[in-house]
């Protein structure tokens, strides 16, 4: 749903849902705050933390429910989820998420949203807990370093920190103004303040979406004619509303219905035609279980047998994502081979794929072992009974394993409960390990796709502690990141890429790393357009929702209803027809799918953040050349260099864009009163610091020698310092 505006007022009446007394969404249990423990000091080996534990979360919030109104008197009953920038995200009792523009609401609602957002911030992890938990991180790392005769890196400078924290939390470099403000701030806890500010900024959602895009394979189309825009919108909503990770994963794994009805089905439907690959993917992504080989044969190195894999897959043996019968009926309709009206082929195909890629549970679980199964523990072709993998004997007593496998139609739900259970032996550690990697450039246990044996982690106690923080925060990824960003370890200067053959990296600080493709692009966007680029938002799922077939059946009548509905809403793009108005293939169609402000188009590029562009970007796009994942396989984005990258930065559209006199960073630098001020502004914009004496002299000389400020911008964008995060 697009944000509520006057123009879409007619929709509002349809959305009215009456108040219900049942549990409110998003009402996380919050615990009592406790007083702060002593702040740690910067030493090579921090002292052991105090024994008394600070309680992580504060008390419960008041009800988020409200009847929202606009000045024209239209109303919507929904619970507040988040306020990001100018957009309020709310959820109705029916579970539908809506985005409302602050400006379109009555003043009381605006005040409520602001107030509730403040309360949410205030009621997150108590500062005392953040301090204690991050101190424990420093302590665990310090102890290991001392044990190996190593030292922490020096503390990062404010210049290093400001650039790093913007990139890690908002997904882009700070503007000159943002960097200048932070550097000039004399407040002692300015770093903690900036962290809190950034994890609630619009860029946070975009950054997280990009990161998850690689992990969850967020892709505009799963195949021919199967657009997944509703999944994309759904995921953006979850992030904006700060849904906890366990809830988000559980929702994806238990989602029912079609993409037209329920965007959350997108994760499972991606693999609807290859369900075994799907199981392998989700075990790897959510549990770090290295099962890929066991799909075809007993794993040569890890514990898992092919039988283990099939027993896990059996939890999905009663679920089906591809309704072959209805697809074939729809094809007949399109060919006019059925009674009733003859319908346009392209439209029927689009409607069919939006409806019949559909997660359903059947009463029968019918997975069988392969016909060429070659081990003695099961007969080829025999039925597989669902059973959960165990990492240790202790798992037998683990409450997460308390699942009921008697009802085939419930198997998927039972599996999801086990997987996302706080006591699942790997679920919390897996996501903690992955988020840590995002911040530090290397996971505590590598590869992140195999944490079957946590003893192999570079610091097993640290991994256990991170899993504990994840659980204490009820899988709130924003809170988890607040903790690690506030650690002194994160706030140290970066190490060069270590040679892991010589031993594990023990985290004396983060690693220096090339920005992700999205970070490079998003940084260049903010240089070129300014921070307003954070407000540009692409939503393409709405037209897809129009495609839901009434009754869910492939009848000519149902198709006709949908086609009329689409025609009425002027959402022809949803049908893939000639009039591609929204979200279709054409660039013009894409532009019209942006909410509110439209992005600029220059040098053949749409100037929006990576999360607000096609997923993934086109094959020749800057993002792909810089290593954005093709989203065919999870975790495949790269940060390797290449010749085409250098060509793009120097001579391509992006090189022209940053060296254009209209480049935002150049424009704002040019208002400086002296050449030094101008040079400072460009350095701050691109590198988050001011130039040293030699650099200043060289830049001044170049400016006297015929180069203009826009040439300096080009030059700074082409330095390696720009591309790398220190």
């Amino acid at each position: 749903m697009r944000p509520l505006t006057l123009a879409s007022a007619t929709v509002l009446a349809l959305l009215l849902v009456s108040w219900s007394a049942s549990a409110a969404p998003g009402g996380k249990k919050r615990r009592q705050p406790t007083p702060a423990t002593a702040a740690p000091t910067a030493v090579a080996q921090p002292a052991a933390p105090a024994a008394s534990e600070a309680k992580p979360l504060s008390e419960a919030l008041p009800s988020p429910w409200r009847q929202w109104s606009d000045p024209a008197g239209r109303k919507l009953d929904a619970a507040f989820c988040s306020l990001i920038g100018e957009v309020v995200t709310v959820q109705t009792r029916a579970g539908q998420t809506h985005r409302l523009y602050l400006g379109g609401l009555v003043p009381e609602d605006r005040a409520f949203a602001h107030d509730y957002a403040q309360r949410l911030k205030a009621k997150s992890f108590a500062d005392a807990y953040v301090k204690q938990a991050s101190y424990q991180i420093d302590y665990l790392i310090g102890s290991t370093l001392v044990g190996k005769g190593q030292k922490f890196n020096a503390p990062a400078t404010d210049e290093q920190f400001v650039r790093r924290i913007y990139l890690d939390s908002a997904g882009r470099v700070p503007t000159a103004e943002e960097a200048r403000t932070f550097l000039a701030d004399a407040t002692p806890n300015k770093r903690a303040n900036l962290i809190d500010q950034l994890v609630y900024s619009p860029g946070y959602t975009m950054q997280m979406y990009n990161w998850l895009g690689d992990m969850l394979r967020v892709k505009d189309s799963f195949g021919k004619n199967v657009p997944a825009f509703t999944f994309e919108d759904w995921l953006k909503d979850q992030l904006a509303a700060d849904r906890p990770w366990d809830e988000l994963v559980r929702t994806m794994l238990t989602a029912d219905g079609s993409l037209a009805e329920n965007g959350a089905t997108g994760f499972l439907l991606y693999d609807a035609q290859m369900p075994l690959d799907g199981v392998s993917n989700l075990l790897t992504t959510f549990l770090g279980a290295n099962v890929a080989c066991a799909q075809c044969h007993d794993h040569p190195l890890a514990e898992w047998s092919q039988k283990d894999f099939y027993q896990m897959a059996a939890f999905f043996g009663a679920s089906d994502g591809y309704d072959e019968k209805s697809i074939s009926q729809a094809k007949k309709l399109a060919k006019g081979k059925s009674s009733g009206p003859v319908l346009p082929k392209a439209g029927v195909q689009r409607i069919a794929s939006a409806n019949f890629f559909r997660m359903v549970d059947t009463p029968k679980q019918d997975l069988t072992f392969p016909k060429d199964y070659k081990y003695d523990d099961a007969k080829p072709g025999s039925a597989v009974a669902p059973a959960l993998i165990r990492w240790s004997e202790a798992d037998k007593k683990n409450p997460a394993y308390n699942v009921d496998t008697t009802n085939p139609a419930q198997l998927r739900d039972e599996f999801a409960r086990w997987m996302t259970h706080a006591d699942n032996p790997r679920f919390a550690a897996n996501i903690a390990n992955r988020v840590w990697k995002k911040a530090f450039g290397l996971a505590v246990q590598e590869p992140v796709t195999d944490i079957d044996d946590p003893k192999k982690a570079s610091n097993p106690e640290l991994l256990a502690h991170l899993a504990q923080i994840m659980k204490a925060g009820h899988f709130d990824l924003r809170e988890f990141q607040r903790v690690i960003f506030n650690s002194q370890t994160y706030q140290r200067s970066a190490s060069a890429t270590p040679d892991l053959e010589k031993g594990p990296y023990l985290f004396p600080g983060p690693l220096v790393r090339r920005m992700s493709a999205e970070q490079v692009w998003d940084s260049l966007m903010v240089e070129s357009v300014g921070p307003a680029v954070d407000q540009i938002s692409l939503r393409r799922g709405d037209d897809m929702k129009l495609l839901a077939l009434p009754g869910g059946a492939a009848t000519p009548e149902a198709f006709k209803v949908v086609m009329d509905r689409v025609r009425e809403a002027d959402g022809m793009a949803a049908l893939g027809g000639g009039n591609k108005k929204k979200g279709g293939g054409s660039e013009k169609g894409l532009i019209s799918a942006y909410e509110g402000a439209k992005p600029q188009q220059r040098f053949g590029m749409i100037l929006a953040r990576a999360s607000e562009l096609p997923q993934p970007a086109a094959e020749t796009h800057f993002l792909r050349v810089f290593g954005q994942s093709d989203r065919l396989i999870a975790d495949t984005s790269t940060t390797d260099g290449s010749v085409p990258q250098a060509l793009l930065m120097m001579n391509g559209g992006i090189g022209q864009l940053v060296s254009d006199p209209n480049c935002a960073a150049v424009v704002s630098a040019s208002v400086g009163k002296t050449p030094d001020e101008k040079i400072d502004a460009l350095y701050l914009a691109f590198l988050g610091r001011r130039p040293n004496t030699g650099e200043r002299t060289a830049t001044q000389a170049a400016l006297r020698d015929g180069l203009a400020l826009n040439d300096v911008a080009w030059t700074l964008a082409n330095t390696r310092e720009f591309l790398f995060i220190q």
């Binding site: 290295n290 060069a496 085409p644 830049t699 030059t715 082409n718």
Partner: protein, 429 residues
């Protein structure tokens, strides 16, 4: 120099580092003469091991996307399976169909493999199999042959990439090898290397680069990191490439008009000409893609159009390489996704992976030879069956790769060129 130094990313870096001591030296690569590169690459070659091994210094991999109908091209049939085209005699003692008249004239330079077989009948997956020699899996990406070659043999030229793909992006590229092994993609042969020219005057460009060298120094001195250094190398290589006379290899305008005509004035024809220019200039592996072979309907017209384009370009390429003395050291492989069904419905044919044909020319392959056969209808292989893995192993053998050697991926999986299949050494003279 340790001959293995070009095979391992870390050692390769040591090599580059040795040559490039300057922090962001814009003048590094001129020090690195072609001669020193050639010597290093030669030293990295394993010893010759029998017929055909290592003869192909270059490989041109033609990929007919959509599924070339074997029966309507290189494996004509009579009876029910026969399509709209008639068989014609060639300069060798085998026939092709009437859609390949130019190819018929050079048949005495070709090895036709009529016993290819696979199980994958889906386009994307079959393309993947043909490029990598491995079936597509949800959890790993395999490298293409060019990347394997770079892994074992290093670069093939000081400034040009070792692998180029024409008419397609660089997916199915480096796989689990470093990104540097990824093919350089040329989407449009007429356009050549995109963004290879500076957008500003030589004066401004030179001043920018001078300033860049100065401003880049601070960070590279402070941060002795291998990835940071690698980017310096990429920029050096790129700047060198931009100035290099080798860049002309990408420029078809340098070819005489008659030569351009002889390949056919279409994307595939010009792509083949570009491939010849590139291997002539020292690029080891070039893939050229041709789309439009998925002939479910209108096969007769399509074979005349697409088949005609292919026929002309392929014959021109083989003849051109021969006349330049490059055919013995260049292996041209005609590949596709799969074959098409023996049942011709009067209009077209469906996908059929169980039997299809590929062709080899040059690089030590026999001349005027048919390897293997399909059955009477062209439904399945009848003799000397060849899998895609075996086809890859055969090309790998010709290119001098240690095909039996296992490589452990970062996740610890053992891999080899052609998935450890046996090469068919019978195809070599």
């Amino acid at each position: 120099m340790n001959p293995d130094s070009l095979r391992d990313p870390l050692d390769r870096r040591t090599f580059v580092e040795r040559c490039a001591r300057y922090a962001f030296g814009l003048s590094v690569l001129p020090l690195l003469s072609k001669r020193s590169f050639a010597e290093t690459v030669a030293a990295a070659q394993p010893l010759a091991r029998g017929a055909g091994f290592g003869k192909a210094k270059h490989v041109i991999f033609l990929q007919l996307q959509g599924g070339l109908s074997h029966i309507d091209s290189f494996d004509p049939k009579t009876g029910d399976a026969k399509g709209p085209g008639n068989p014609i005699a060639t300069s060798a003692d085998f026939q092709v169909t009437q859609y390949l008249p130019e190819t018929a004239k050079i048949a005495n330079k070709l090895t036709v493999i009529r016993s290819m077989t696979a199980k994958v009948g889906v386009h994307a997956n079959a393309q993947y199999l043909m490029r990598t020699g491995y079936e597509k899996r949800g959890t790993i990406v395999h490298p293409m042959l060019g990347a394997w070659a770079q892994h074992y043999l290093g670069r093939s030229h000081a400034t040009l990439p070792a692998t180029v793909c024409v008419g397609r992006p660089a997916n199915h590229g480096n796989g689990y090898f470093p990104a540097g092994y990824s093919p350089l993609p040329i989407l449009d042969p007429e356009e050549g290397l995109a963004n290879s020219g500076s957008r500003v005057s030589a004066d401004i460009q030179s001043k920018r680069l001078t300033l860049l060298q100065r401003l880049d120094a601070t960070f590279s001195h402070q941060m002795p990191d291998e990835n940071v250094r690698a980017y310096g190398d990429f920029y050096d290589t790129t700047l060198q490439l931009m100035k290099s006379s080798d860049l002309k290899a990408f420029d078809l305008a340098a070819e005489p008009g008659a030569m351009r005509e002889s390949y056919g004035r279409n994307k595939f024809g010009q792509g083949c000409l570009l491939a010849r220019r590139l291997v002539e200039s020292g690029v080891r592996f070039v893939e050229v893609q041709s789309g439009g072979w998925d002939m479910h309907k209108g096969l007769e017209d399509s074979m005349e159009d697409k088949g005609g384009e292919f026929d002309r370009a392929f014959a021109a390429l083989v003849s051109d390489l021969e006349s330049r003395g490059l055919l013995d050291s260049t292996l041209v492989a005609v590949t596709t996704e799969f074959g098409r069904k023996p049942g011709f419905d009067g209009s077209g044919r469906g996908h059929h992976p169980l039997a299809f044909s590929t062709v080899l020319a040059g690089g030590g392959a026999k001349r005027g030879y048919v390897h293997g056969s399909s059955d009477e209808k062209g439904y399945g292989p009848a003799s000397q069956e060849m899998t895609v893995g075996s086809f890859h192993a055969t090309i790998g053998w010709a290119a001098g790769l240690p095909i039996e050697k296992e490589y452990l991926t970062p996740s610890g999986r053992p891999m080899a060129v052609g998935n450890k299949a046996k090469p068919s050494l019978e195809v070599f003279a």
